[in-house]
Amino acid sequence: MTLYTERQSGSRLRDFFESHAHVLSIAVFLIACCALFTSINDVFLSPGNLLNLLRQAAPTLIVAVAMTFVITTGGIDLSVGSIIALVNASAALLLRAGWDWPVVSVLMLMLGAVIGLFQGYFVAYQRIPAFIVTLAGLSAIRGIALVLTGGFSILIPPGLFLSIGRGTLFGIPSPALMGLAVALIGFIVLNFTVYGRHVCAVGANAEAARRVGIPARRVVASVYVWSGVAAALAALVVAARLGSGSSNAAVGTELDVIAAVVLGGTSLMGGRGTIVGTVMGALTISVISNGLILSKIDAFYTQIVTGAIILIAIWVNTRIFDQVGSVRRKS
């Protein structure tokens, strides 16, 4: 006699590991990096260095959280480094002209939003690939910053503004606190709100999202607004930390940010994003650059090593992922 039995459902723990494979592997990688750099130079683990590391990671982290949303919709924003430069320079100019810092801060966040809206409009409503729109932005926006500053660095007069970048609260640098706050908000929005669900849906299958009545184009445009605002916030942090504004700020930041997001396990194909992964990805990028400096590796080699490590990490990550979960490709 044949017995009909139900297939056993797998263990909960196994399911957990499989669905979080990406995040777990970046966590392991981050810890391994920390262990390696500690063994090379034990200054790495000193509280002073760790706090400094957090302070430096903050701008990347802030932008990377917003970039996670952008990439989850299947897009990309290459212009964030240039937005940082423009906002950074504009803020310094206004502060030097004697404007109040709260007014300047709010205006700068709005500037970021407007730039994001402009780019989001072309991506979402004019159907121009995000890569093209934001590549144009990358060039043009830094150009505006150059025109405004004439290429010179602009000193910010001492004042309360600088504490955005230099202050501490309970011994923790304020940029790090801001970064964590942004990450927490991003985590909640992406995972627990209707809007976050719509961001995933648009990235997984934009046509399906449109068919069920999700305002797909508005959702797509909105994520570029968030990345613009986040870049502006990061620019304020950078300006306050350095005490000056410059059109040369944040060159190449877009690459760090995108690397952080992808390292963290957010899919470039869209539809799947993780803020926890992004936080660890951003920390990993900072740990690598900080650790290489402490290891006294020639600065010229740092970029090569960073690039190689990112490629290897993402390669390992996709390998593990391919074996563990066979997620169907988007058709």
Partner: protein
């Protein structure tokens, strides 16, 4: 629902060349035709996914012009798309509630959606062990079942099924046919597109045949048979 003179072109291809159709509550219309006859295009126009180049759609005697699928959904027109239109990276419950998430303020009420999803699937006799699984992890038939459940669960007035049974096993096809009969009894107008002609004779009241972007014939089920329909599909009977 009354549809008149629908035309639609994609570039140089005239996908629909003036199609008329009437749908009555509590009735199932079978829509058949060769591949590329325009069945999917026509039903997507009914569901608001495509906007017609010409033609009118009336609902309960009032002419309506959709601006998009959300509006059609608002009128109670639901559709199961041939490509299923699911989001692979979102779980089963999330897909069932896509576009009408249960929320507390801006927050998703995930527990309520999981419960609701269980209830929906149970009512439709669909066995999916875990509604928290991602849709990408399911079989083709399970995915199709979810698309059907999503369209049927929210009390539609008009339900369009575009080849809903192509990946289903015997028992599941039976369940879909039973579902169609239950919805008919509730007064829903059903449009069923399928290549399984024997199914049409079990649930449909009328069969419309499309050929190269036009409706070439319409038959009440009582006055036709399988051979007749086959002849109409391949384009012999009306020349």
């Amino acid at each position: 629902m009354r549809v008149r003179g629908i035309r639609k072109s994609f570039g140089s291809i005239e996908a629909l060349r003036g199609v008329d159709l009437d749908l009555w509550p509590g009735e199932c219309l079978g829509l058949v035709g060769d591949n590329a006859a325009g069945k999917s295009t026509f039903t997507k126009i009914l569901a608001g996914t495509y906007l017609p180049d010409a033609g009118t759609i009336e609902l309960d005697g009032k002419e309506i012009a959709y601006s998009g699928p959300a509006e059609a959904r608002g009128y109670g027109v639901e559709m199961v798309y041939q490509d299923l239109s699911l989001c692979d990276t979102i779980d089963v419950a999330g897909n069932l509630y896509l576009g009408r998430e249960i929320s507390k303020g801006p927050f998703l009420d995930k527990a309520a959606m999981q419960r609701g999803a269980h209830e929906m699937l149970r009512k439709l006799e669909i066995r999916i062990p875990n509604t928290a699984l991602k849709v990408a992890q399911l079989s083709g038939g399970q995915r199709q079942s979810i698309a059907i459940a999503r369209s049927a669960a929210f009390d539609p007035n008009v339900l369009i099924l575009d080849e809903p049974t192509s990946a289903l096993a015997v028992a599941e096809v039976e369940a879909v046919l039973a579902l169609i009969n239950r919805l008919k009894a509730k007064g829903v107008a059903v449009v069923l597109i399928t290549h399984r002609l024997q199914d049409l004779f079990r649930v449909c009241d009328r069969i419309a045949v499309m050929y190269e972007g036009t409706k070439v014939a319409e038959r009440a089920i009582a006055e036709t048979n399988l051979e007749d329909i086959v002849r109409l599909i391949v384009g012999e009977g009306h020349r």
